[in-house]
Amino acid sequence: MNLDAAPGIVAVTAVTIATLVIGTWGLRFSRTTSDFFVASRSVRPRLNASAIGGEYLSAASFLGVAGLVLTFGADMLWYPVGWTAGYLVLLVLVAAPLRRSGAYTLPDFAEARLGSRAVRSVCSLLVVAVGWLYLLPQFQGAGITLRSTIGAPTWVGPAIVGIIVLANVTSGGMRSITFVQAFQYWLKLTALLVPAAVLLAVWADDATPYASGSDGWSVPLASGGGEGLYVTYSLIVATFLGTMGLPHVVVRFYTNPDGRAARRTTLVVLGLLGVFYLLPPLYGALGRVYAPTLAGTDRADALVLELPRIMLDGPAGELLTGLVTAGAFAAFLSTSSGLSIAVAGVLSQDVTGRLWAGRRLGGVAAFRLGAVVAVTVPCVVALAVPNLGVARAVGLAFAMAASTFCPLLLLGIWWRRLTPAGAIAGLLAGGVGCGVAIVWTLVVSRPSGWTDTLMGQPAAWSFPLALATMVVVSLLTAPRIPAHTGRFLVRLHTPEVLDLDRG
């Protein structure tokens, strides 16, 4: 360890302490199981929107986008655009009904809508799968960040993030996490905005006008003609539709007081994400001017962390490095916390909260045990398997969510004739299809040709497959439409001010 490590160590320590202090402060409000799961549904739209933003902006947004833009150019801008547009799709199709359903988690929603334990079990399995797929790159990214900024061994990052997340989640649950994540949104925004402003001033001063961008750097399309067009559109499908099916995003909607607040919260989130995502591409473009040698290497992901030192000498560069390191660390903490809560919620309801050998754990104890399992498993796997690449693994999690939970939510909310059998068939078709594609992508090291393209970016075929399967099997099993469907749709769609029988 040398002097270079100082800003990184200070930044990581400061974020850790701030997170634990705010988490403990939030603990004073956390007393019941309902506080743990959904913050007792009393979070105002603006605080809730900051928390959603803080939770959603992961390592892929904070570090990954700038690195991808540096290496590949404008077609990578579709990642941040898709991650934001996903909230617009969520707003118009599911936000208010999802809140009004009154369920805690996706499996709760599925069981309440369809009245079937089997659908619930399939959903629980998928929540854990998507959650772990998304947690894995967060832990691995934390390892890479600490290695490149303070020279720590790779296992230190996952271990620190895992322990802090566990401490916060098990002590305060959703209520304290809401404050922590709202704080972390503003920290992440500041940590990108201030250095970006300084670096832009340096760039203007240098009069180094433009990047010598190679051909195609300004084309918003993946290269390769027809295949490139397919990859871009498949990415659009995965991100636009996958957002609504991510377990940590969905769980947030239950903390709104009512359906109207859920909509307004989502609108504020759209604004917050739009402001944040203006910044990472700037780092990519500045990197093109000042650090072109990083492009295409595995250090591209660390562009945001390294650029301040490359462009500025002395204490100013060190200070800004500390700031972006703090933001990156906050990104790991907040996204992992949100995902861990979502996975722990499902595990505590369906696994650790069950009757085991004649004993049943209480609500909070079951949640804590669930959190330990939810964090430990991906943390250990992150140490054991080689790095998959942050953006690639996150992209696969989006594709999985788009081809399983998205059709379930769409049809469950808007279509009366969905049956339990149809839902299970569709979830399995989408989940297995996408799962096969993920395994294929991991096994094939050098993709080439249409088959590898289709497998590498599956959402454009796996989402329609799941949707069509759900519709067809539901129509074939029409006599098994749940009897309470009408009453449940009244609950999903009518404003709360009306005095109606909601089942």
């Binding site: 801008l77 909230y87 799709v89 769609h493 009518t494």
Partner: protein
């Protein structure tokens, strides 16, 4: 004139349960009558039409960009104030546009719900 021995237990006498407003249209929805089904159907159709409308606008603007750039490759060399067009559109302008679409949606969705609430709280004559 009272008889000796244990007196019978007192029984509270109440009328049949009454609805708050016997003929409000909300009762039709609660009882799942055909009329109630029509009210619900109209709300669902109205909200779904609004959602699909917003998504269509999204698809025809943001969604068509890759296809347009694929068909007219010359666009990627087009610059506005020194910034390539693709960067300007996808790096900046798309975000206020998404926010505007969301804002329009929230206003209209809330208006649909207010109209529905007014409709079903009117009392049938």
């Amino acid at each position: 004139m009272s008889e000796p021995g244990p007196s019978p237990d007192r029984v509270r006498v109440t009328g049949p349960p009454r609805r708050r407003t016997p003929t409000a249209r909300t009762a039709d929805i609660d009882d799942e009558t055909r009329l109630g089904g029509m009210y619900m159907g109209s709300l669902l159709r109205e909200q779904l039409r609004l959602a699909l409308g917003v998504l269509t606008v999204l698809g025809l603007t943001v969604g068509l960009l890759p296809l347009v750039f694929h068909l007219v490759p010359a666009l990627s060399r087009f610059e506005v104030l020194g910034v390539p067009l693709a960067w300007l559109l996808l790096g900046a302008l798309v975000y206020p546009w998404l926010l505007a679409l969301g804002w329009i949606y929230v206003r209209r969705a809330e208006r649909n719900e207010r109209d529905f609430a007014e409709l079903v709280t009117e009392v049938n004559r």
